[in-house]
Symmetry: C2
Subunit: 200 residues, 2 copies
C-alpha cells in the first residue's frame, strides 16, 4: 500500500499524520467484527454539544449482508464506485437535526458528526485499515434505501477496508492516488489574535 | 489531573480513548509555540470535501497577547468562564460557508470543520494537553471582536492548556468534573444494514 503521511512543520500524532483517504482496497480481506466495534466505539466517544451525540451510522457489510452493501454502493457517484467497489464496508453517516433534550434545532449537529466520523477514520487508520469519506452520493436515494427519517441529514458514505497495492487501480484513478496530498498554507487557515493575521 | 478514559467493548486507539473535555486547567503552564504549531497542523491535515479545508482558527494566546485572549474570554457564556479562565489558549473556530473553487454553498463545511477541530483536540490530548470545545459563547460579539467576515459561521471556542488537579475547581464545577462520562448505547447510534436495526 501507499504511505502518504502529512508533511508538517513539527511532528504530530502518528495516527493523525498517517490517516489518508486512499482508493486501493483489498477485496479479499474482511474487517472483523471486533474491528467494526472498535470503529464505532471510537465514533461514539467523540465530544458533542450538550452530549447530544447527533451522529448515526448505518453499517453495510459486504461480507454479512451483500444486499445492503449493494444498496449503499448504488447510491455512490460513479466516480466513487470505480474504486469503492473493493471496500468491504460502507457506512452511511447521518446527523440528527434536533437536540434530543428539547427537539430544538441543533446548530452543532453537523459539526459534531464530523468529529465522530473523524474519530472513526482515525481508528481505522490506527488498525491498519483505510477509511475514505465520500460526499459524492445520492442522498435522496440513500434516504429511501435505508429508511432514514426526515429529522436526520445525510452527510457522507464512508468506505472502509484494508488497503491494497495501488497497482490494482485503473490508470486514471492511479494518477489521483499517487498525486501529492495538498493543504493550504498554515497562515491561510490559522490566524493570530484577529482575522487574517499571520500566526508566525 | 483526572483520567476518565472511554469505556468501550473492545480496545480503541489510546489517544481517542483518553481525550476528554475536562475543566481544571493549570494557569501556570504555558503551551509552547511548537505545541501550538502541532495543534494547528493536526487540524490542517483533516479530510474535507473537494479538499476545500473550510476551517479557520483564530488563536488567542494569553501569554503572547493577553488582550485578544480577554476578547475571546469575554464572549464565553458565564458558566464556561468560571473554569476556562485558567486556560492559556482560546481558539475561535469558524467555517467557510462557500466552496473556494466555485463560491457555491458548501453543505459539508460544518461537518469538515468538526473533523479538523477533533484532530486538534486529539493532538492536544496526545501531547498531554487538554482541549475543551464550547458552543456556549456569544457569536455576534465574537464576530465583531475578531472581524470575522459574514461568509464564515462561528462554530465553537476551544480552550487548551495543561490539566490541573481538579481540587482547584469550585464544588459546583467539581461535581461536573467527577461525574461519569456518558454515551448512548451503541445500538442507538450504530445500525446494521437499515435504520434502527441493532448491529449485534
Amino acid at each position: 500500500m501507499m504511505h502518504k503521511p502529512a508533511i508538517t512543520q513539527v511532528a504530530i500524532n502518528d495516527t493523525i499524520a498517517k490517516r489518508w483517504s486512499g482508493r486501493a482496497y483489498n477485496p479479499e480481506k474482511m474487517v472483523s467484527h471486533d474491528q467494526l466495534i472498535a470503529l464505532v466505539e471510537a465514533a461514539r466517544w467523540a465530544p458533542s454539544c450538550f452530549g447530544d451525540q447527533p451522529w448515526r451510522f448505518i453499517v453495510c457489510n459486504k461480507n454479512t449482508d451483500a444486499q445492503s452493501w449493494q444498496q449503499g454502493f448504488s447510491c455512490l457517484a460513479e466516480s466513487n464506485q470505480l474504486w469503492a467497489k473493493d471496500a468491504p464496508l460502507l457506512l452511511v453517516v447521518c446527523t440528527d437535526n434536533l437536540f434530543s433534550h428539547n427537539l430544538q434545532a441543533n446548530r452543532w449537529a453537523q459539526y459534531d458528526t464530523g468529529a465522530a466520523s473523524e474519530n472513526l477514520c482515525l481508528q481505522a487508520s490506527s488498525m491498519g485499515l483505510m477509511a475514505h469519506q465520500m460526499g459524492g452520493f445520492n442522498a435522496t436515494d440513500a434516504r429511501i434505501a435505508f429508511a432514514i427519517p426526515d429529522q436526520f441529514t445525510l452527510m457522507a458514505i464512508i468506505s472502509i477496508g484494508y488497503p491494497a497495492d495501488s497497482a490494482s487501480l485503473t490508470p486514471d484513478i492511479l494518477s489521483r492516488e499517487t498525486a501529492a496530498r495538498k493543504r493550504k498554507p498554515l497562515n491561510e487557515l490559522i490566524f493570530a489574535s484577529s482575522w487574517g493575521r499571520a500566526l508566525e
